[in-house]
């Protein structure tokens, strides 16, 4: 800490600075704990395939949260990014012989491009309309994937995608190697999202979320900020989808379907919109639940719906949000 900051201890700026430093420390500790848990988990009997699935969805939910939690934009069509990136990485890895890192990179880029186009259309309307437009656009993509059987394989999807060797050395057919690659991708993206949220860009984005007219009157081009947030969110969602396709060696229509868009909304809502750890918690709970209830067929849909209703009625801040509120109250 430099001397000017030390001198300003009692000023308002000093208080904010200290609070921010404390927040940073909390974040750092929490992230380290989380990372440690993930590193240890496969060695204490947690099934790595389950962990990889949950991590991919956690990344998906974090990317989605960037848009809803910090941009205030509810997209109901994020499945299009997840699904299209999945197809792209599966197709290039299988048919063009791309190594996994290149397949994922290509798919993520494609998802960014799709995000740019669909975002430019969707941000023309706000609120409820925004949700409906993203939903309609993703349904359009769904039908496209259903019909473009030469690329997507239609109902069968793209199966038996080779995992290959990452950077030519990491043999991904080994489950543990694959797991740590997924973990690395997740943690990198997670830190990037944290960085984005706390950057000047992130602060402007939050301003727009809270009071768009004021942000505009301060001279910020709200549309461009929203579009960039949308593209970032789409890109990271694409990263999740591309990784998921390599992990499961499969890209299918399930990932483009609107129910997948609904699922990510629920993960984020359950964990806590606008909290950095919320989506991770939400994703692990829902994926865990689906894993255990897999034999119950349509009851999963019913339970998902019930959780949705419960969250909206009684748990609007989500689990992490409520815990955070309780912690702050206790601290005061």
């Amino acid at each position: 800490m430099n001397t000017t900051a030390a001198a300003s201890h009692d000023t308002r700026a000093g208080v904010i600075e200290r609070r921010a430093a404390r927040g940073d420390r909390t974040f750092l500790v929490a992230t380290l704990v989380m990372a440690l848990m993930f590193v240890v988990a496969p060695f204490v009997g947690v099934y790595p395939v389950f962990l990889m699935k949950a991590l991919c969805f956690a990344l998906y939910a974090c990317a989605f949260n960037l848009l809803i939690g910090y941009g205030g934009l509810l997209s109901f069509g994020h499945a299009m990014f997840l699904g299209v990136a999945g197809y792209a990485s599966a197709y290039t890895a299988k048919n063009w012989g791309f190594p996994p890192e290149l397949a994922i990179l290509f798919a993520t880029g494609l998802s960014a491009l799709l995000g740019l186009v669909s975002g430019a259309i969707a941000i023309r309307r706000q609120g409820i309309y925004f949700a409906m437009i993203t939903l309609a656009l993703s349904q359009m993509i769904y039908f496209f994937c259903l019909q473009a059987t030469s690329i997507t394989g239609g109902e069968d999807g793209i199966q038996a995608v080779p995992r290959g060797k990452m950077f030519g050395v990491l043999d991904l057919s080994n489950t543990l190697v694959m797991y740590f690659v997924v973990l690395a991708i997740f943690l990198a993206a997670f830190l990037l999202i944290h960085r984005i949220i706390h950057s000047p860009f992130g602060n402007v984005l939050k301003t727009i979320r809270d009071n768009e007219p004021r942000a505009i009157s301060l001279g910020y081009d709200a549309e461009r900020y929203k579009l960039l947030a949308f593209v970032l969110s789409a890109t990271l969602t694409g990263l999740a989808g591309a990784t998921k396709a390599i992990v499961f060696q499969l890209a299918s229509l399930t990932d483009v379907h609107w129910s997948m868009s609904g699922e990510v909304v629920l993960m984020t809502l359950l964990g806590g919109m606008g909290t950095i750890f919320g989506p991770v918690v939400g994703a692990f709970i829902l994926i865990g639940m689906e894993n255990y209830l897999a034999g119950f067929g349509q009851w999963v849909t019913v339970i998902t719906g019930v959780i949705f209703v419960f969250c909206v009625m009684a748990l609007r801040k989500g689990i992490v949000g409520e815990l955070g509120a309780w912690w702050t109250k206790r601290g005061n």
Partner: protein, 294 residues
């Protein structure tokens, strides 16, 4: 006989299917628009409530032997009452919050309803017979027009126009429109706005159930029948804009016809044409064809 190299038989056949789909789009988007006008929420459960309408008719027939005509009246009332319960117990608590919570709640309810029905009735359709009075058809010379399909188009038009008339031309409708503009002021004039909101939701939902009963003989009774339809209807609503009742009706029928014609001329695009139109409309007129920016 051929027009643009397409047999007229096929052309008129698809035009008829387009009109039928349009009739459902119109009824459903009308309900959505009425609900949105007063409650400011997008009713995601609309598709599930449409499905409930069809199931109601099915149960009435199987359980009590009640025929199509009574179902047409009873199913909307039953589903409307369920809607009123939903509004009274849940939606009501969300009005003070961001409108997106209404969307999320109704989405959750749609999942619950669709999941429950899929559980008990599977995802293959249950047949529902066309009532005797409406079986058969007319031979118009250039095409065969099944009586039931003609009925669906006419009935939907009548219901849509009646709704338009009530909202735009009667005293009750003027209260409704006033409450849409400024609920606090209307309340101050001694009109029970919360009750009006409840009944409006019940009515909008009833319209969905009415459409469901009419759809039962055409599409069979299926738990998922509303799930995909509702997304298309959302696109219809975005295209039309939610500013006007007549707009919802015209857009609904118009898009149904366009979709039907696409099936004739370029079948590959028939699933996506409405979404493409939505994109174009958004670029040219973001508020929708009949909408007002607000």
């Amino acid at each position: 006989m051929q027009i643009f190299g397409i047999a007229t038989q096929a052309l008129f056949g698809q035009l008829l299917i387009g009109l039928i789909n349009g009739a459902f789009y119109a009824l459903l988007s009308l309900g959505l628009a009425v609900i949105f006008g007063l409650l400011n929420i997008i009713n995601f459960t609309h598709g599930a409530q449409y499905m409930l309408g069809a199931f109601c008719a099915y149960f009435l027939l199987q359980g009590a032997g009640t025929g199509y005509w009574w179902s047409l009246l009873l199913a909307p009332i039953a589903v409307g009452i369920l809607g009123i319960i939903i509004e009274k117990t849940m939606l009501k608590r969300l009005y003070a919050l961001d409108h997106l919570y209404g969307l999320l709640l109704t989405f959750g309810l749609a999942l619950v309803l669709q999941g429950l029905f899929t559980n008990y009735y599977g995802s293959s359709g249950l047949p529902y017979r066309i009532p005797d009075e409406l079986s058969g058809g007319f031979n118009l010379g250039f095409m065969f027009l099944p009586k039931y399909r003609a009925w669906v188009i006419v009935a939907s038009l009548v219901v849509c126009l009646a709704t338009w008339f009530v909202i735009e031309r009667t005293k009750l409708g003027s209260y409704l429109r006033a409450a849409t503009e400024n609920p606090a002021l209307v309340q101050a004039f001694g009109i029970n706005v919360p009750r009006m909101v409840t009944l409006t939701y019940g009515f909008g939902v009833g319209l969905a159930a009415f459409a469901g009963v009419m759809a039962a003989p055409i599409y069979q009774v299926n738990p998922q029948m509303g799930a995909n339809l509702i997304i298309v209807v959302f696109a219809v609503v975005v295209i039309g804009g939610m500013g006007s009742i007549m707009g919802a009706i015209v857009t609904g029928f118009g898009l149904g016809v366009i979709e039907g014609l696409t099936k004739v001329f370029y079948p590959e695009a028939s699933n996506t044409v409405i979404f493409v139109i939505m994109v174009i409309v958004l670029m040219l007129k973001p508020a929708g064809l009949f909408g007002k920016e607000r």
